[in-house]
């Protein structure tokens, strides 16, 4: 999509203003039903589009992204646009700076097109935790798009932008990508700067592209990746040209299959689609071998100790003093803190702050938080052992296709299990991508996850591209 639009812009067949107006019209038509965007401003978008057209006319600093409208998850700061994190806590908040990823997109000439809906503070797997109403899945509006980057996933799937940015703490890019039939990439931890991302769990969060194709994903990753001194966890590792290393040839590559991922209560449709996808990669010349990741089943419980612990610390900053919601119902400083926080945060965020505070509290720290950190080391060690013999590991992205709105809201543990195939990557810091690999009987998309070695996004993208080019799944669109 981006690649073709870029070529059209380069030839002068279309302008960025025309392309942006096209998406603005589609958002006006489709967003009332899908609720994928929280904010989309015509003047803000068209001003950037006009500047991009001028750059192309003057042949100044033109890149493949110049003039391309990209949607931004609403936890990334964009100057001139509000950041809400889909929370009442931040209603009306205007950032004073842009995230590094947004700056880099704008330097490349992209149009930061609108802010997409999400689970509040990125906590959720269904987008039902947004304070501004759930996003609906473009393939079936009675179902969730997944979460937490469900707005970005739905916007891409419904063709309401050329591509989008999401963030992934336990699967929040890959899981909604799978459920909406698009490509979602979580880069290696440290590959992309988190500066200007409202933090959820700082040792797990990564920003990544959500796109129609693997080539678009490579293009966007290349634009946002790289060292940033403003994020002390961003690593100074060279960024290759990811589009140059895409290939339809996977001969010589060894792909590992971990049966532990197929014991995760997969639906028959997901299991057969993913096994068929692995067979396709084998037919394309990849060597497929078994690997063992024995601590896989402990990833979700580990994640649901570490992520809430970090969240309870990160969200302490929302106190009603310097920014965000301040309760009018308080007469002392302490009452102001308590009332502002309980009024501003929704139930899932409150639950995670409670849980995180509990596992970090005196008497429980060793039993929960320290224990989870030790199991995290074992999960990471499993991958290190596996990657000694394979180039990548293929798994399902999700155990099931998109579930119905309301189906899991009363059962947090059931909801958390939506992360069962994705959270290991975040704990170990590894890159992972989800690519469409089939459909269920009721026409809902299924995703194949490809996990790579640290900083080897090029290999992950190469395998994903080869698979995509050999199949037709990515060409199917929702109504």
């Amino acid at each position: 999509m981006i690649t073709q639009q870029s070529e059209q812009l380069a030839r002068g067949d279309i302008t960025s203003v025309a392309l942006t107006e096209h998406y603005l019209a589609r958002v006006a038509e489709k967003n009332p039903q899908l609720n994928a965007y929280l904010w989309c401003d015509t003047a803000h978008a068209l001003a950037q589009a006009r500047a991009a057209d001028q750059r192309r006319a003057q042949k100044k600093n033109v890149t493949p992204l110049t003039g391309i409208p990209i949607a931004i998850k609403d936890l990334l700061h964009v100057t001139g646009a509000p950041t809400t994190c889909a929370s009442k806590m931040l209603a009306g908040f205007q950032p004073t700076f842009s995230a590094t990823v947004v700056e880099r997109l704008q330097m490349a000439g992209a149009v930061c097109f609108g802010k997409t809906n999400m689970d509040e503070f990125a906590m959720g797997a269904s987008n039902e935790n947004s304070a501004f109403g759930p996003v609906r899945n473009p393939w079936d509006p009675t179902r969730t798009p997944g979460g937490s980057s469900g707005g970005s996933a739905a916007a891409v799937a419904a063709d309401l932008c050329s591509g989008a940015l999401g963030s992934d703490t336990g699967g929040s890019i890959r899981q909604p990508a799978a459920m909406c039939g698009i490509v979602g990439l979580k880069p290696t931890y440290g590959r992309v700067s988190r500066y200007g991302l409202v933090a959820f769990a700082s040792s797990l969060d990564q920003i990544g592209p959500m796109t129609h194709s693997v080539k678009d994903s490579a293009l966007l990753l290349g634009a946002i990746a790289g060292h940033d001194p403003r994020d002390s966890t961003s690593l100074d590792v060279p960024v290759p040209d990811y589009t140059a290393t895409l290939s339809t040839d996977v001969r010589g590559l060894t792909i590992g299959i971990a049966e532990e991922y197929f014991e995760a209560g997969l639906t028959p449709a997901v299991e057969s689609a993913v096994r068929a996808a692995i067979k396709t990669l084998q037919d394309l010349g990849a060597r497929v071998v078994p690997v063992h990741l024995p601590h896989t089943k402990y990833a979700v419980p580990t994640y649901y100790i570490i992520a809430p612990a970090e969240a309870s610390s990160n969200l302490a900053r929302f106190d009603g003093i310097r920014f965000g919601h301040r309760s009018p119902h308080s007469d002392s400083l302490r009452a102001l803190y308590e009332a502002s926080r309980s009024e501003g945060f929704g139930p899932e965020v409150t639950r995670r702050i409670v849980l995180g505070t509990y596992v970090l509290s005196s008497g429980y720290y060793d039993a929960y938080y320290r224990k989870a950190q030790q199991v995290r080391a074992l999960i990471t060690h499993d991958f290190t052992q596996a990657f000694a013999t394979v180039d990548a590991i293929c798994t399902p992205t999700t155990p099931s296709t998109a579930f119905r709105l309301g189906e899991r809201v009363d059962d947090p543990v059931q909801m958390y299990l939506a992360d069962i195939c994705t959270s290991s990557c975040n704990l170990a810091g590894l890159p992972g991508i989800s690519v469409p690999c089939g459909f269920s009987e009721n026409n809902l998309p299924i995703g194949l996850q490809i996990i790579g070695k640290n900083f080897d996004e090029a290999c992950v993208l190469r395998i994903a591209h080869a698979y995509e080019q050999a199949t037709e799944w990515h060409k199917k669109k929702p109504l």
Partner: protein, 97 residues
Amino acid sequence: MCSNITAATIRQVATLARLGLSDADCAQYAAQCQKILAFVDQLANVDTAHIEPMAHPTAQPTAWRDDVVHSSGEADAILQNAPAQQARCFAVPQIIG
């Protein structure tokens, strides 16, 4: 690990986290957290003797920068987000009686 979370536990945690919860909220979060902790209790089955805790996915050294003061020039814009301000300061309820 043996989790036994009561509404009183949630009340104590909410105080630490500065969350104003009603009695009904505390009872509801107690029941939910009890289930979640029963689920995570399976980690007790993992032998972690002699395993170093892992706090972070990259074993990089601490990043340093020069200790130099920069002016962001954003004070007025930052104050625009303040729920209440007075004389270019954040205004809060009276603390000392």
